[in-house]
């Protein structure tokens, strides 16, 4: 393989990585204890903003979020119409003024998925490629 071919492969790899990032496909995952919970977009927003703290089937709604990254940005924009930093500030304000219990925050999707799998009532989001059988995928009700 000559230098030119290597350079082209390198460019292709960068392009592929960029496309993968741009195509982040977040999905909502929940603990299996609440997989039958009916959640629509408004309910999801209410949970993410700390306004709804308990599931209709009982038990506390426990939030797990990614600290940053394209998956977090895309999910939060779609679900609560906020950027990652706006969401961060929103929760800092609530937590520091007695207004709510802050979400559990994770750097890695694997850690978030494990937390959701192990915690009754937990809800979070990861990229679709990182879902496994330990959690249930939540489809929003119309």
């Amino acid at each position: 393989m000559n230098t030119r071919t290597l350079r082209r492969l390198g460019v292709l790899a960068v392009l592929f990585a960029s496309l993968s990032m741009a195509g982040a496909a977040p999905v909502i995952i929940v603990n299996k204890s609440i997989e039958k919970e009916k959640v629509d977009a408004a309910t999801l927003k209410s949970v993410l903003l700390g306004k709804k703290v308990a599931w209709d089937s009982g038990g506390r709604a426990i939030l797990a979020v990614l600290k940053s990254g394209p998956v977090a940005d895309e999910f939060l924009k779609g679900a609560v119409d906020m950027s990652g930093s706006s969401f961060n500030n929103y929760w800092r304000r609530l937590a520091m003024t007695g207004g709510g219990t802050a979400p559990h925050s994770f750097e890695k999707e694997e850690d978030l998925r494990k937390y959701v799998a192990d915690t009754p009532g937990a809800i979070g989001f990861v990229d679709s490629a990182n879902v496994d059988a330990s959690v249930a995928v939540l489809t929003l009700a119309p």
């Binding site: 709804k52 599931w55 506390r60 929760w91 800092r92 937590a95 520091m96 007695g98």
Partner: protein, 405 residues
């Protein structure tokens, strides 16, 4: 002396927690303790203030390191709906606070549904965009909030109240309304910053060391937030009032005699709007406070009444520059409702501010800020905040760093 005292108490508390939050799972605004529902959070900030002419915003002309705050909170959830928690807070703001630890908030909160919850205890006081978050450097680029709406002198008086609140959120079509209705009382005493509104030789009522007794009956109010269908746009209306705000002390015109004052009803109304679009945030607030002060010194046959209060407003603009930087600017205007005159600088204050914020990481930030004040309204000259020769214009520089977890 005060600095070493502060560090002696704060550092042993903050440093281990910071280490803990760096090596453990960190939530947005709090640190979770294991798998329990317990979370801890807090911050510590240290700043420097320099004022070239007047004592704005506090203490004296010149520079001071007596500009710091610290808070530590713990919350826990019990069952699905109940949450309990408390935060202690201390500040040193010139000669106000003096690093004395106070209970900032301590609540039991039962959230029945998204549209109805009850919170009781010592509860943060909803007022405008920042009334509940006066101390949270992490949520804004500014060091000093616009004094026209958020007087730093009143922080220790209007940050929280003892009582109860009902709250909730209701979705209406593509928008939502968040409401809060509250009532209770606010513990006050002559050590609080609000005492400087009564003291001193420039417009004050009480002589010597100032007011000797301060009390009030109750506070009540409501706040409504309209999260509009327009992405990032919200409007806020806040109304509250105090009843029977009473003060006693040596009458400034004749110190051997005790003067008694009462404001039967002191009201606050604040209209706010905020629009977040991309990296930009536009904000504007207008506030009117109003009351009728009745004074009486029966021994010398003095009595009467006078209007008290102010009209304040500001417009602010901030912009995020990448992940690390944020810039902000605002212009604020505050006027006496008692005797405003454009030709009398003691009846107004115009404040132009420019700020720069740098976030080192999620936990440490730095800010610098410059202010140009025109007018001396609410520029105090009291035993605690000396300012014997007020000038019409003052420039203030501030720098501050905050560590939060």
């Amino acid at each position: 002396m005060k600095s070493s005292s502060c560090l002696r108490y704060i550092c042993p508390l903050i440093l281990p927690l910071l280490t803990f939050c760096v090596v453990s799972g960190v939530s947005r605004g709090a640190v979770a303790i294991g798998d329990s529902g317990v979370q801890i959070g807090g911050f510590f900030s240290q700043g420097y203030l320099y004022s070239d002419n007047n004592n704005l915003p506090t203490e004296d002309v010149g520079g001071t390191w007596n500009f710091r705050e610290a808070a530590f909170n713990v919350t826990d959830t019990i069952g699905a709906h109940l949450r309990v928690g408390a935060q202690v807070f201390e500040q040193d703001f010139g000669n106000i606070g003096n690093d004395k630890m106070i209970l900032d908030w301590a609540i039991a909160d039962y959230n029945f549904t998204p549209w109805f919850g009850i919170r009781a205890g010592r509860v943060k006081y909803p007022k405008g965009l920042y009334g509940e978050a006066l101390d949270l450097d992490v949520v804004r680029p500014f060091i000093l909030l616009p004094e026209a709406v958020y007087s730093p002198i009143l922080r220790d008086f209007t940050a929280s109240f003892d009582g109860g609140m009902i709250y909730g959120s209701v979705n209406v079509l593509k928008s939502s309304f968040d409401y809060k209705v509250f009532g209770g009382t606010i513990p006050i005493n002559p050590e609080k910053g609000v005492a400087d509104f009564y003291n001193g030789s420039t417009g004050g009522l009480f002589a010597g060391s100032g007011v000797t007794s301060l009390k009030m009956d109750s506070v009540a109010g409501a706040q409504l937030v309209w999260n509009t269908p327009v992405s990032g746009l919200k409007f806020v209306g806040s109304y509250s009032f105090f009843t029977n705000l009473d003060a006693y002390g040596p009458f400034i015109a004749y110190p051997p005699v005790v003067l008694g004052t009462d404001i039967p009803r002191f009201s606050w109304i604040t209209y706010s709007s905020e629009y977040t679009v991309g990296d930009w945030v536009f904000a504007a607030e207008w506030q009117r406070t109003n009351g009728q002060l009745e004074f009486n010194a029966p021994m010398i046959g003095v009595s009467g009444s006078d209007t008290v209060g102010w009209d304040g407003w500001y417009v602010a603009l901030t912009r995020r520059l990448g992940d690390k930087f944020q810039v902000g600017a605002y212009y604020g205007d505050n006027q006496s409702r008692q005797n405003y005159s454009s030709s009398d600088p003691s009846t107004y204050q115009h404040d132009t501010a420019l700020s720069l914020r740098y976030d080192l990481n999620d936990h440490v930030l730095f800010k610098i800020e410059a202010h140009y004040f025109d007018g001396t309204y609410e520029t105090f000259n009291t035993p605690r905040i000396m300012n014997p020769n007020p000038k019409q214009n003052t420039t203030v520089f501030a720098a501050k760093t905050t560590v939060s977890f």
